[in-house]
Amino acid sequence: MKHKLMLVASLAAFTVACSATGDLAVLDDSLGLSQVSVFDVPAPAAFEYRDLDPKVAGVLPRAWEEAPPQIPHRVDRYLPVNARLNKCLECHEEPDKIGNKQSGKPTPMSASHYIGSGKDLAVANNRYVCTLCHAPQTEAATLVDNTFQKAP
């Protein structure tokens, strides 16, 4: 019985996914992220990264509490981070303001990015290349929804 229920549920999900065809059968052309034949050579859409000034960019929704926040503002003036220069830290290294984000002000890096304490407090070197975890974002529409839900 349980087995049958699962079957019905998954059929329902599949029907939604392929509603364009109107029945349960789908052409390969309407599967996947591109929804074209594999023999086609489609023209990819152009995209641009967010070009908002940090002061007005706000923050993007976070996937869950410890997920790395993504970059809401323009980065062309700040990247790349190199061994001599890290423009990200100029704004986000604010150990006195951890957990105290204010509208229109930089998001202070979390405590996990520092080591030591008091006057020895410093940014951990293995966190130095910000873009390993924090990626600039475009406004591109998602290709397919994601049903992940963070716990309430």
Partner: protein
């Protein structure tokens, strides 16, 4: 922040021992308490993506993953993840997740030209079985094949390997790892006689010099890059060299960037060797005691078909080079030949043959690789002054040779994916061995891997068409006999004829040699080069293609039957990373709908077949091995009966649910309350992942590949173990007496690998005495010459095209493109190009362009800025985007020794749409 400030920054590594990368213990405890209140359950697990093998923690609630984070106790990543790694929690929840088998049907029956219709597992397996029997009856073991994966778990790899080789007596199972690290393996075998690296990731903190050879670690191994960055910023004498064909993110932290011309790394390595000798810096004691000098033939072809029957018209000129090659000026100097000489490729049949030579011969061979010669031919940026480039090469040699410096060389696809991939791997060991800077903390040539279990599943299990578990080989009768005994098989059950490698399976599909193909946990119809051939073969020829997948990617779209697969946290499993660390995880959540793990798929399908169908006489075209009738596998059924089997026994019973394995019961206390959907579905009360693990580890014990027992890896405090694990102890550095229990006492170093350790003797051109001489215990220092890429830009195809990955996406993007944060970070593949090259073609940033090679063309957007800076003449695009199928462009020429495809060098033209 300026440079002086950096010196005051503290090392995150030091902190990791006290806390978790800076997070105060009190805060972590608070976070744990909060999670407990929320009713979250945390499981230790492993990242699904690259070969670094970061530990992660997976939080579940009400049967769903609600969060993941870097595992603070994991020695690999110490609590950190890269942006992909952080989003492991979302990869299972794309809305178009496959939850039911889909088969192409018309009017309720299978039809290759039909539409996909949801079917039950029973219906799916019925058709899969019917097609299997049809093909097996027509073509025997060589007509069926599997394109397997280094993303399968170790147990899945072992099960499929056994099903194919022991059950169906077919060696046509080969992983996508073939395109990832086969060249590395070939060199591990030829140089050391055993696979996988000597060192481990702690080399990063022990060394003061790190040289990246065509490995953009900042994007491809981000967590190792964070450790390298940590070392660089916290240690002022540390130096990082980035050898690359274009400027990339790794250059941002590097001290020295060397932009070289594609494939001239072969010449640069020989320049360093020449310098080592010229500066009298050979570590004579080390070399005399532990090394021999060798070389092999140069005329080995390019891993293409010997015929142009299947080539597109435009491909024929390149394909002809498989038979004969006209040497260009640089090759002529590098190979001591004449420019323009036409060289018949006589050694395509045995390209890996090699023989011992004298040091004097070796010295003579590297003599042409002077700074003047190598600098002029290898400079990759036409706009860089030659003198500046020369100074850089000299600096590179200085770093290697400096007696006060420890050196680690890192590489992955830049070396491996080359028509001379094995050679350049061997050359890297050449220099480390000449200097005696190998197999010591902070000193060594370190081959990285790209996939999460290239080492664990593909290499250690031997899930290749020529391998058996733990460094054993199909052509070796002793290895086959051992494996037959371990598997309880009658003698001569195993097929002694090497099967088809990954690319050849696709070529077989095109020429009708393979007609039944199972693809699992990889996406060959997007990821293998030159896909216009394989897409057409899949859809237009008489064959049956099964694809086990989580999402409808390109390979699923060209399949005849799609099987819904369980993903990583939905099953028990284990992966082996690039530092020999084996890590296991438990099932955290149930797979959705009817999705099932690959292990169940293999075993359930095996229930449908009896041994009498396969263990009778079988035809194997081309089989010619002592002790076997030509073209035939003998019947072993009488012998099977003597061993107590009935001809009616199912492959499931004989291969998997053996009396020994059935004793390993499910449920098991090691589960700590976690479920196992595969044990439940099989329903006969055994614990397949544990039983198969214990069966597998017997292969490695006592031969330097020792793995620990299943339950050990599941211990609360264990975060993977680096094999060989001997008497419960890991081995941090292999071949070094101080760290490796396999090295003879008093030897200091011993390169004890057993493969290819009896070789003939000769000079630079040929074997002079064919009698094999033992070189047991020694490593081989190869002379390998520079050879030009098989395809060079010309007047028509005037640019060199290179492909690879980007930080934010994994492989073909089937998982990461369904994570909104990762998709928005890089929504589509773009083509990086020098602004002058763009301007010359009337193009600017974001314009749509045609990218065309001899093999096909695609549309792509131009990028002239961002993270990569191309030299004039070279373009780059990643292969993750199914909307921009760059593998329609790439050549499927390959290293003739390793059979690994050359993704890095295809001649193209670019023009405005």
């Amino acid at each position: 922040m300026d440079g002086t400030r950096r010196d005051f920054l503290k090392s995150g590594v030091a902190a990791a021992t006290a806390a978790t990368v800076g997070m105060p213990l009190s805060r972590e405890a608070a976070a744990q308490a909060r999670a407990a209140e929320q009713g979250w359950q945390w499981d230790k697990s492993v990242c699904r993506f690259c070969g670094t093998g970061c530990g992660i923690m997976v939080a579940t609630k009400d049967g769903r993953v609600v969060a993941t984070k870097g595992d603070p106790k994991a020695p690999v990543n110490r609590g950190l993840n890269c942006v992909k790694g952080y989003f492991n929690g979302k990869i299972m929840y794309g809305k178009d997740r496959l939850t039911q088998p889909l088969m192409r049907m018309t009017n309720g029956k299978f039809d290759k030209k039909g539409k996909f219709v949801p079917v039950s597992w029973e219906q799916a397996f019925d058709e899969m079985e019917r097609q299997f029997r049809r093909v097996y009856a027509e073509k025997g073991p060589t007509g069926v094949a599997m394109l397997a994966s280094a993303q399968k778990t170790i147990q899945e790899g072992y099960a499929f390997n056994k099903l194919f080789k022991a059950g169906w007596r077919s060696n046509n199972i080969d992983p996508n790892a073939r395109n990832c690290m086969a060249s590395a393996v070939a060199a591990f075998y030829s140089v050391f006689g055993t696979d996988e690296p000597a060192g481990n990731y702690d080399d990063i903190e022990y060394t003061d010099t790190m040289v990246l050879w065509g490995a953009n670690m900042a994007e491809m191994h981000p967590i190792l890059w964070s450790r390298i960055t940590d070392r660089r910023l916290g240690h002022k004498d540390c130096r990082i060299v980035n050898l690359t064909t274009y400027r990339n993110m790794s250059s941002d932290i590097a001290d020295l960037e060397i932009i070289f011309k594609p494939q001239t790394d072969l010449a640069i390595q020989n320049y360093i060797a020449r310098e080592i000798i010229a500066r009298n810096a050979v570590n004579k004691d080390f070399v005399d005691k532990h090394c021999v000098f060798v070389t092999g033939p140069y005329d080995i072809g390019y891993g293409m078909r010997p015929t142009d029957k299947y080539a597109f018209p435009a491909e024929k000129d390149i394909q002809a080079k498989e038979l004969r090659v006209r040497l260009d000026r640089d090759e002529a100097i590098a190979q001591r030949r004449k420019e323009g000489e036409l060289v018949e490729q006589k050694n395509t049949g045995n390209p890996g043959a090699h023989w011992q030579i004298s040091f004097e011969d070796f010295k003579r061979a590297v003599e042409p690789y002077t700074l003047d010669f190598v600098a002029a031919m290898s400079k990759g940026d036409v706009d860089e002054p030659l003198d500046q480039y020369k100074a850089k090469l000299k600096q590179l040699a200085d770093y290697y040779i400096d007696a006060n410096r420890k050196v680690v060389s890192f590489w992955t696809m830049g070396f491996n994916q080359s028509v001379r991939g094995t050679w350049v791997n061997e050359q890297c060991y050449m220099n480390h061995l000449l200097l005696g800077k190998q197999s010591q903390p902070g000193n060594g040539a370190f081959s990285l891997t790209g996939q999460p279990s290239a080492c664990g599943t593909a290499r250690e299990v031997g899930m290749f068409c020529h391998r058996l578990p733990s460094d054993r080989l199909i052509p070796n009768p002793v290895h086959r006999e051992y494996t037959e005994k371990q598997w309880g098989l009658p003698a001569r059950t195993l097929n002694p004829h090497i099967g088809s490698f990954y690319g050849k399976i696709l070529r077989d599909l095109e020429d009708g040699g393979v007609k039944w193909l199972w693809v699992a946990a990889n996406n060959p119809f997007q990821s293998h080069p030159n896909i216009n051939h394989w897409l057409k073969a899949a859809r237009e020829l008489d064959n049956f293609i099964v694809v086990s997948e989580a999402y409808p990617g390109v390979s699923a779209k060209v399949a005849d039957l799609i099987l819904p697969a369980a993903m990583i946290f939905e099953k028990w499993g284990s992966y082996g990373n690039a530092e020999r660390r084996t890590q296991h995880w438990r099932q955290s959540v149930q797979p959705p709908g009817l999705a099932r793990g690959d292990m169940w798929q293999a075993m359930e399908f095996a229930k449908r077949f009896k041994i009498k169908e396969f263990w009778g006489e079988q035809k194997v075209p081309g089989l010619k091995v002592a002790g076997y009738e030509d073209g035939k596998l003998p019947s072993v059924l009488d012998e099977a009966v003597k061993l107590g089997y009935s001809p009616e026994d199912s492959l499931y019973k004989v291969l998997f649910a053996t009396p020994g394995n059935l004793k390993v019961k499910w449920p098991d206390a090691v589960a700590k309350g976690r479920d196992n959907h595969i044990a439940n579905q099989l329903g006969d009360g055994w614990f397949p992942e544990k039983a198969i693990w214990q069966e597998y580890v017997a292969f490695g014990r006592g031969v330097g590949k020792d793995l620990a027992d299943f339950d050990v890896y599941h211990g609360d405090d264990v975060r993977g173990l680096k094999w060989p694990v001997v008497n419960g102890k890991e081995t941090p550095w292999r071949f070094n007496e101080q760290y490796d229990p396999y090295v003879k006492k008093g030897a200091g170093f011993e390169f004890y690998g057993k493969l290819f350790k009896a070789i003939p003797t000769g000079d630079l051109d040929k074997v002079t005495d064919p009698k094999p001489v033992s070189v047991a215990g020694k490593a081989k220092i190869f002379f390998r010459p520079y050879a030009a890429p098989v395809e060079m830009p010309d007047a028509n195809y005037d640019l060199m095209f290179c492909t690879g990955r980007v930080l934010e996406h994994w492989h073909t993007g089937t998982m990461t493109r369904r994570v909104p944060e990762l998709h928005r970070a890089v929504p589509a593949a773009v083509m990086w190009m020098h602004p002058d090259d763009a301007k010359k073609r009337g193009l600017k940033r974001n314009d749509l362009a045609w990218l065309e090679s001899r093999r096909g063309k695609i549309q792509i957007r131009v990028e002239t800025g961002g993270r990569n800076t191309m030299p004039r003449g070279t373009v780059y695009a990643a292969f993750f985007d199914e909307g921009v199928l760059v593998n329609k462009i790439c050549t499927d020429a390959a290293c003739p020794i390793s059979k690994e495809s050359d993704y890095k060098k295809s001649a193209v033209k670019v023009y405005k749409v």
